[in-house]
């Protein structure tokens, strides 16, 4: 499987994500800069977490205007799998590959915690190794994870079953406890939890491995 990770100035989970990919997807990912105009041919493109451009102005806003984004949007249209983790999720909403926005947590505080997440569907590229409605423990670490969308659009994404996962207990004010979201074609996933930090029980949880297993399974068929 060819995996590319896009790194922005201020991205700080690119190395963790690359480590997880090489350990659990058995492939060495390419890390490219957001200043590249073209993304190398990939089966999966990951936008990792961090503070691209310091999260200044709005988290993800400045990153979403980088040259690489045109090609990303194109590749998304062509069905390439795209995963945005945390800041990556914020960037994907800013570039309109995913609907809605991630506002400041309702506590107005950064929250770092390993929490329970419910995986809503298990029939996608990203989640086939999970049981349906399986509850897993994954760390979150964010300041802006409070998912918001207009009422009508919320109904739409619910009707289309685009919700990928929900927080078991509310933590940041997200509408309908949304923790992760697909696009309409289910090839783009944004999620607030950090699966790349949950691949080793010694660091608290290895529930994140199933994400990587899912992708590996899919790639093998």
């Amino acid at each position: 499987m060819d995996v590319t990770i896009i790194s922005f100035p201020g991205t700080n989970c690119d190395v963790d994500t690359a480590n997880a990919v090489s350990r659990k997807l058995n492939t060495i990912p390419k890390i490219i800069s957001c200043k590249e105009k073209e993304i190398p041919k990939s089966d999966l493109i990951i936008i990792p977490g961090g503070f691209s451009y310091g999260d200044y102005l709005r988290s993800g806003a400045i990153a979403a205007r980088e040259p690489v984004m045109l090609d990303l949007v194109n590749k998304a249209k062509n069905g390439v799998y795209i995963l945005g983790i945390c800041n990556g999720f914020q960037i994907l909403t800013e570039v309109n590959l995913l609907p809605g926005v991630l506002l400041k947590n309702n506590s107005l505080k950064f929250i770092s915690k390993t929490i329970k997440i419910k995986i809503i569907r298990n029939d996608t590229f990203f989640t086939s190794s999970f049981a349906k409605n399986e509850t897993v423990s994954i760390p979150v670490a964010h300041h802006d994870g409070n998912f918001f969308i207009e009422k009508k659009a919320l109904m739409e994404i619910e009707d289309n079953q685009q919700i990928a996962m929900r927080y078991v207990d509310p933590i940041n004010g997200s509408l309908n406890d949304i923790a992760g979201l697909y696009n309409q074609k289910f090839n783009v996933l944004g999620l607030m939890p950090h699966p790349e930090r949950a691949i080793d029980i010694r660091t608290g949880s290895d529930d994140g491995i199933k994400f990587f297993e899912s992708m590996l399974n899919f790639a093998n068929i």
Binding site: N12, C13, V15, F51, G54, S112, A141, R197, R202
Partner: protein
């Protein structure tokens, strides 16, 4: 006011300065002298005593004197660490003050070629219900998190204290730990006459001019006037600077490097030249500046953050320039190394300063300040009776210094880098070294109540507690850093405590082979003449050579036996219980028998590493019962049933006698455990068993899990979330 006085230079110092210079110095020169001779940079009150610290050991590669200390952890790897205070700025602007404190200490670590892998902090505030505490605590915590989270370094441990002596002076001590290769350590010693001096990082603005002199003067009502001297931190810029510096460090281009901390360009250039016994010439027109019309004085004294100064090999300047360009970080050649041993500053064609460097360093004033021992503490008055044991336990768990600090540490990213092995409020933070089976364990400790009552015992206890916390995590303690927070050193009682503190730290670090490799001093923590309690914070680092044993550690099981290692508790003088119940303490803090500490510590470490025990926690503030509650109930969500003799039950449960641990042992291992302890002649007592729920003591005291959890968890949220 006289220009010298305005710069904090007193009459005697002024005379010395004029004698040295043999002419009238320029304003820029006076500015340079004032910051270099400030307490903050020159350590004029403390230097005389600091040299007595124990700084050597097999493990030490670099002791105090560089940006940070360096210790060997084998396999060609080293750990680089230091702690630093940012007390005054955090009181004036809690968010930015704390944030820039974290930024500053991080630069000290990566200046030496190490990638930061962990942050810690020790923070202290006035009473929890003091009107300013909520504002300061929420700002400081958000600032620490805001900076560390953004750069992407996990904050893995720390401590938070509350005491009325900090009502007017809160403390923010930040510690950073990094890892480097032993053959790629960078120092600040400049060399190579003619070599280019290079400035990298953020542009210079009018930030924090006089920050260093401010940090050296005590507060008064007028301190409002000093306000614009606080800097705004830019963690995003720091992240880019960090990556650019670490990348360049792979390219054999850097001869020496020094971050611009307190007193900015002045102290970094003077220090680099001084260490190399060379001169330095700076062309200020080349400095990247943020605002128009900065004067030489302002450029030399600015404390803009996220900047570094380097001496490069001339052939590699192009390579270096390209690295910084790639990361979008400013790069400018701003001067050269000379053979004059002077610092010469040129701006707009004028020589703004030309000062022999030794006047600013070796020949700077140094004081052996007067010391007078404080009068002895009041005699211990035994006044606590055992009628209300249950109430005491709940009250202590619900007190500001003991209660859960989860509200705080949940705001710190603890899992980034995916190597944090225990992420929720343990004795010490443990971080694995990436791609190895090794881990580093870290902790910050001090008990100001002890230190104020008896400076020497308190200092010894702080080192010992920091050793114990590292042991409890299964690591071998290697070395410490420290941050000595005190009041006005011109007061002989405070100076006397300072001297005793150094003696205590020294004694403890010699016996425990726990040398001091770096540190920082923060004096004048006073408002309107009232000083903080002595707060010598100790930051310790230990090594776990192979983390495999951790898989079966830290997880007590129902039926495990609970064992006290060390003596039965007696000492209630100066204890948490006394403070919580009576609001005052009497008598002397518990003394530490350092040899005993060492023997017990080594024994406990071997028990942990050999998987003979299932969990371990040191006994400190609050005594035995608080340790049991913290370890079994609050961390592992299990119960405990213990029995203690009915005589002096309060002393046994709450006594703060030193050198003790609580451990749990499985039925399978109990025989091995007791025979090993017997062989080592280590005192121990079986207390009871781990049970499914609730705390039961002697069959007549029962406390439910809900009562315990509520007492422990509710206090800080009840203040902060309202």
């Amino acid at each position: 006011m006289d220009i010298y006085k305005k710069h904090g230079i007193d009459e005697k110092e002024k005379k010395l300065l004029l004698d040295y210079m043999e002419r009238d110095p320029s304003n820029t020169e006076i500015g340079i002298f004032s910051v270099m001779w400030s307490e903050h940079c020159s350590y004029k009150s403390s230097r005389y005593w600091l040299k007595n610290l124990h700084t050597e050991g097999k493990q030490v590669i670099q002791g105090p004197g560089e940006n940070a200390g360096v210790i060997d952890i084998g396999d060609g790897q080293v750990v680089v660490f230091k702690m630093e205070s940012h007390n005054h700025p955090s009181f004036i602007e809690p968010y930015q003050g704390a944030a820039t404190g974290v930024g500053g200490i991080m630069r000290d670590i990566f200046t030496m070629g190490a990638r930061p892998i962990a942050l810690l902090n020790s923070i202290r505030f006035g009473e929890l219900n003091h009107p300013r505490t909520k504002y300061l605590l929420s700002g400081v915590v958000a600032g620490i998190g805001g900076y560390g989270n953004c750069v992407g370094i996990p904050t893995v441990s720390g401590e938070t204290g509350f005491d009325s002596s900090y009502n007017g002076n809160n403390l923010v001590n930040a510690m950073c730990v990094g890892v480097a290769k032993s053959d790629k350590i960078f120092y600040s010693k400049a060399s190579g006459i003619g070599n280019p001096v290079v400035y990298v990082g953020a542009k210079t603005g009018r930030d924090g001019i006089h920050g260093a002199t401010m940090a050296s003067g005590e507060f008064d009502e007028d301190s409002e006037k000093n306000r614009p001297t606080v800097q705004v931190g830019d963690p995003y810029a720091e992240k880019l600077l960090l990556e650019a510096c670490l990348e360049l460090m792979q390219k054999d281009a850097i001869i020496s490097i020094q971050d611009m901390g307190a007193a900015g360009l002045t102290s970094s250039s003077v220090e680099m030249a001084d260490k190399g016994q060379v001169g330095i010439e700076l062309h200020l027109d080349e400095i990247p500046i943020r605002q128009k019309n900065l004067s030489a004085y302002e450029i030399m004294l600015s404390e803009s953050q996220e900047r570094m100064l380097m001496v490069l090999t001339p052939e590699k300047t192009e390579v270096a320039k390209n690295v910084f360009k790639k990361w979008g970080v400013d790069f400018a050649i701003v001067g050269k190394i000379t053979d004059t041993k002077n610092i010469k500053v040129i701006h707009q064609g004028n020589i703004e300063a030309d000062i022999p460097i030794r006047y600013l360093t070796d020949n700077a004033p140094i004081y052996e300040r007067k010391t007078i021992k404080k009068s002895k503490s009041v005699e211990y008055r035994d006044k606590i009776f055992d009628a209300d044991t249950k109430e005491f336990i709940l009250k202590v768990l619900n007190s500001a210094n003991i209660c859960s600090k989860k509200w705080i540490w949940e705001q710190y990213d603890r899992t980034i880098m995916a190597n944090t092995l225990n992420s929720s409020g343990c004795d010490a933070g443990i971080v694995r070294i990436n791609d190895t089976n090794k881990a580093i364990s870290m902790s910050c400790d001090v008990n100001p109540r002890y230190c104020e009552t008896n400076a020497k015992i308190g200092a010894i206890q702080a080192v010992a507690e920091c050793w114990r916390n590292i042991i409890s995590s299964g690591a071998k303690p290697l070395a410490i850093t420290n941050c000595l927070n005190f009041g006005n050193p011109e007061k002989p009682e405070i100076m006397s405590d300072f001297v005793d503190t150094i003696k205590g730290i020294t004694e403890a670090s010699i016996v425990l082979d726990y040398p001091v490799v770096s540190g920082n001093v923060s004096l004048y923590n006073e408002t309107n003449g009232s000083a903080i309690k002595n707060t010598p914070t100790i930051g310790g680092v230990g090594l776990i050579e192979n983390i495999d044993f951790l898989d079966d550690f830290g997880d007590p099981k129902i039926g495990d036996e609970i064992v006290l290692i060390g003596k039965i508790g007696e000492h209630l003088a100066c204890s948490t219980l006394e403070e919580v119940i009576y609001g005052e303490t009497t008598g002397e803090p518990p003394a530490v028998n350092l040899n005993l500490e060492k023997n017990i510590g080594k024994a406990v470490l071997s028990l942990i590493q050999d998987n003979m025990i299932t969990d371990c926690h040191d006994i400190s503030d609050g005594g035995l019962i608080i340790s049991i509650c913290e370890m079994i109930m609050l961390k592992s969500k299990l119960g405990a049933k213990i029995s203690v003799s009915n005589k002096n039950i309060i002393n046994q449960l709450f006594g703060e006698d030193q050198s003790r641990y609580v451990v749990t042992v499985s039925q399978n291992n109990r025989y091995n455990l007791f025979s090993r302890l017997e062989k080592l002649e280590i005192e121990n007592y079986i207390l009871g068993k781990v049970t499914p729920k609730e705390l039961k003591i002697n069959n007549n005291i029962t406390i439910s899990m809900d009562e315990l959890t509520n007492a422990y968890e509710s206090l800080i949220p009840s203040i902060m979330c309202n």
